[in-house]
Symmetry: C2
């Protein structure tokens, strides 16, 4: 059975040493997040993940969810108990407002915890993960009454949440959606339609499920600006908070999928179900974006999570599997063969995963801290800068971390050789589970277009300029001998990103297909630079710690960072060449030539 | 259900126009392969693949193989009937010698046919695929009696074959193997041991199975030079050719795998089974290499095959799925949305798959023709040059075509969005099936080391020099305006490959880890150059055909080739940078740091 050890030490190093979380103590909740508390919280999260959630990950995949004839869904054995421990531990609301029963800690803490949970059991973690997205939407757009009715139960983990966007004929293009909402005399709406691919849409973990449903009010304008968001509880909630009658929403079927078998992906039928408007009429997409942005960051972290757990298993296997001899002569002459970790090509894979994971974790935490600033800072300028950062980095994190997270799961499987293909070893499950993260919450091509088409030009390119200024500033201030081996290649990579940006400015206005043709490469080029910048900051912090005393873990950081800048940063040149080749050959063939 | 249309036209264009197969008419069997016959053979192969094999591909995956308590194995519904049609059509032996019942056509024809069959149904095609490898080994190393006893039945498709190498504790490092062979007074051997991961090891398709088993004769030297190859029939063959008693070999279990569920991957138990020496004592690995090289090319073609069928389905979906509008304005204003093929990012994926598939198919056919020259030419120098080519290109084709074939299956799945993750659409099966090709017949890291560590230095680098000379010669001879847009970037890429080679020569002798650290990148760099060269030859042939008259298919070739050189060739720069970074950061950490 696969192993997993939560990267608590690494997260603590990033929070305390690299990003110095104490600098944010002016924000609500941060003063509570002392080094001791961080260690205690992450230690508890690690325990739950390693001892409760991970042990039912493989069996959950084998067993899957079962839908019964009455529309109810049973989750795999052990999921309910594990979820209960999660809820009782208060994990759903560690960052939620205290007035609704949360602990008010930084959202960054939730982000770190979610990586750990998702690595241990991705399918199970999706149930609370979607709930946290729904909580965020209700917090932002709900009325005081809605908040009072739903948030305490959700934050307590008694109820879960879902997001209902996709319909059979529309996923990316939500303007096409058909689910109808008809206003009733009491102000509520009757919701009718079919939603598909609804993760956690039905299950047996909680007594109620709060569906957030995008629908079209009778007479609304066509397209995305005619969609409205509704709260549709599975079981109606009485004014006194007790549960009432079953609402007319049901699970019509569950999908037979490639992976995440432990999470029920439902077709949800709304047959005149009672729904309550949340946010403004015809502005549903705005309300939904709160959930979606939250979810996109979480999905990026899922990519990292699968990469991390896959890496850990590959490393353990590589240390133990005996096969062949080191090219430099036997390392263990007394054994029949050397462990395969002596082979450079095995090291190549392990180091690539490790360098990505540690850098990507930094990127996630750095961005999560900006999320806290955006939501909690009293300083308007700081909030705006943080919002810019979030807007710019969210598609990068979603797209790059899930593409690479999947690629790394495949790489980890490769380290196992033939055993990687056998289900019992668990490596192929990481591949199958990680695969969905590239697709849901906006396929990665959509993320790339969001970055290039919306986030770059927004506000005259303000967000991008701020990012460039920060990275350039760091390069300039850290040109000294110690960090130079890191910042010098970062400067080259940043130059590629700037050239690519310039090319887009000059070539995409007149010919928009040039933007579309460049988008995915631009996103990955951006991701390399962003993670490269993270490695520079990690290296600086590691050097400072090393100067204060020997620490093998910090030396390993420097080696891993060198691997990143030597072997992974140079890809920026290829991305730039592709971007500059434009849309010509890509778009030239007529559709019927395919 | 997924679709598949065999790329018969493309294969004919490559055989006749690009590689001018008629130039080989001096070789046995080639004069028979007239354009008419090629078209007829491939047309029949397409029919069998599309109408018989492909329709049971998805159901075969769902159903899988079942092992019964008596050790017998039932293949999925329809497999037996499809196999019978394959056998009755004579497909097993279209290139086999006429004296054993084959049709004597070029091996190149078998290669083209195998791509088609593997695209239609990879799991099913593996049964005859392994048989063809076993036939090749017996043809090369068998005694006349062995040939007479086994080949006619195998070529007729009445019996299948397997290769038994891997044991629980050894895959790549076969020197560790423990299966024992004890000589008997009648000259036969008793074979005892356990083999794992034996594809097609047991099934219900045929009345007998001919196992080729690598074992160690009592008292043999340790290591790989103490291994011997044996023929171990499942059912003993009487002197008159009829079947006798059951041999003491049985299937102990079948593996629960990620994919290729229609092929039984068996644990084979040899309990004093009767075996017959094939080839020389303690030279088993030499005999096995005949099968392995045959199999490696076939596995490379499997990668291409999965990429091709996945691409075809993605293209069909992209033409039909309506979602969003073209960046340049609605293309179908009368429809609710445009088909997603209008989006550059979808085109990017389709063109990348297409450019790879057509170039890789050329590479496979070019190399298969060299295989025919190696085995059939009366000219010793030509045979040697062809053998050099085969040695050099076999690991490249195996490694590059399966890595990219898998990546393309993932890309094709991505085009489907959420539907790609649902089993019913069939796209995730291509991903799961394609995944094994990167692992079996030598994991791709092993291919890379074979290329860099063995094939490059062999005979003073003769094979590589010949490859460089051919590509350089083509670039020099075709510097004119028409092909220039193709040969100019190829020249750059070739330069990178030559620089990488030079770097290896200068840095790998003193420090072998530098070779290991470079191997995978070198293999992919080589693959890019080789496929780039193919695209130059395709472009030249297409231009000649276009000059002789308009042909939309030939114009499409030029566009697709441009996409390859503009967007896929530039990756060579990144590979070179990685290679030149050496083994330093890769090997520096102690094993316990992982």
């Amino acid at each position: 059975m696969p192993i997993y050890k939560a990267p608590v030490e690494d997260a603590i190093f990033l929070l305390n040493d690299v990003f110095q979380i104490s600098r944010y103590n002016n924000l609500p909740g941060f003063a509570d997040a002392t080094p001791d508390l961080i260690e205690a919280v992450l230690g508890e999260a690690a325990k739950l993940a390693e001892e409760v959630m991970q042990p039912v990950n493989q069996s959950g995949d084998e067993e899957g969810c079962i839908r019964h004839d009455d529309g109810s869904v049973t989750t795999p054995k052990g999921f309910k108990e594990a979820y209960q421990q999660y809820a009782e531990g208060g994990w759903m609301g560690i960052s939620a407002p205290a007035e609704f029963g949360g602990q008010g800690l930084p959202e960054t803490m939730t982000t770190v915890v979610n990586e750990i949970m998702a690595a241990a059991n991705m399918a199970l973690t999706m149930y609370p993960g979607l709930t946290q997205g729904a909580i965020a939407a209700i917090l932002t757009h709900g009325t005081p009454e809605q908040k009072a009715a739903y948030l305490p139960k959700m934050i307590e983990g008694k109820w879960t949440g879902t997001m209902n966007l996709t319909e059979p004929h529309c996923g990316t293009d939500l303007g096409l959606l058909r689910t109808k909402a008809v206003k009733q005399s009491d102000g509520s709406y009757k919701i009718s339609g079919t939603k598909i691919f609804i993760s956690a849409g039905e299950h047996d973990l909680t007594e109620n499920i709060v569906h957030l449903v995008l629908a079209r009010i009778e007479g609304a304008p066509a397209g995305i600006r005619g969609t409205t968001l509704f709260i549709v509880p599975k079981v109606m909630v009485n004014p006194d908070g007790t549960l009432g009658a079953r609402n007319a929403v049901s699970c019509g079927s569950i999908e037979d999928k490639m992976g995440i078998h432990g999470n029920a992906t439902c077709v949800m039928n709304y047959d005149g179900a009672t729904g309550f408007l949340i946010g403004e009429e015809n502005r549903g997409i705005n309300a939904m974006f709160v959930m979606m942005n939250e979810a996109r960051l979480a999905v990026g972290a899922q990519g990292l999570a699968q990469s991390e757990v896959a890496y850990q298993n590959a490393a353990a296997y590589a240390r133990e599997r005996l096969q062949g001899r080191a090219l430099t002569g036997p390392k263990y002459p007394d054994k029949p063969a050397d462990p395969i970790i002596v082979h450079p090509d095995v090291r190549r894979m392990l180091m690539a995963m490790r360098a990505f994971n540690e850098g990507a974790r930094a990127l996630v935490i750095w961005t999560a801290l900006q999320g806290d600033v955006e939501h909690r800072s009293p300083d308007e300028k700081a909030r705006q800068a943080a919002a810019d950062h979030m807007g710019l980095l969210t598609p990068v994190i979603k797209g790059v971390l899930t593409d690479q997270g999947f690629a790394n799961a495949v790489m980890a499987q490769q380290v196992y050789g033939g055993h990687g293909y056998i289900r019992e070893y668990g490596m192929e499950q990481f591949v199958r589970d990680a695969r969905i993260a590239m697709i849901y919450e906006g396929a990665n091509g959509v993320q790339a277009m969001d970055l290039v088409g919306r986030k770059l030009p927004r506000d005259g390119g303000r967000a991008l300029q701020a990012f460039f200024a920060e990275v350039q500033g760091f390069i300039k201030e850290n040109g000294d001998d110690a960090v130079k081996p890191f910042v010098a290649p970062l400067g080259v990579a940043l130059g590629h990103l700037q050239q690519a940006t310039m090319w887009l400015m000059q070539n995409a206005m007149a010919k928009p297909d040039n933007a579309g043709a460049a988008a995915t490469d631009y996103m990955h080029l951006f991701g390399r630079v962003a993670i490269g910048y993270m490695w520079c900051r990690i290296a600086k912090a590691a050097q400072a710690k090393l100067a204060a005393g020997a620490d093998a873990r910090m030396s390993a950081k420097l080696v891993t960072g060198r691997f990143f800048v030597e072997r992974m940063l140079p890809e920026t040149a290829t991305h730039l060449a592709r971007i500059q080749s434009g849309a010509g050959s890509m778009m030239e063939l007529p559709a019927d030539a395919f």
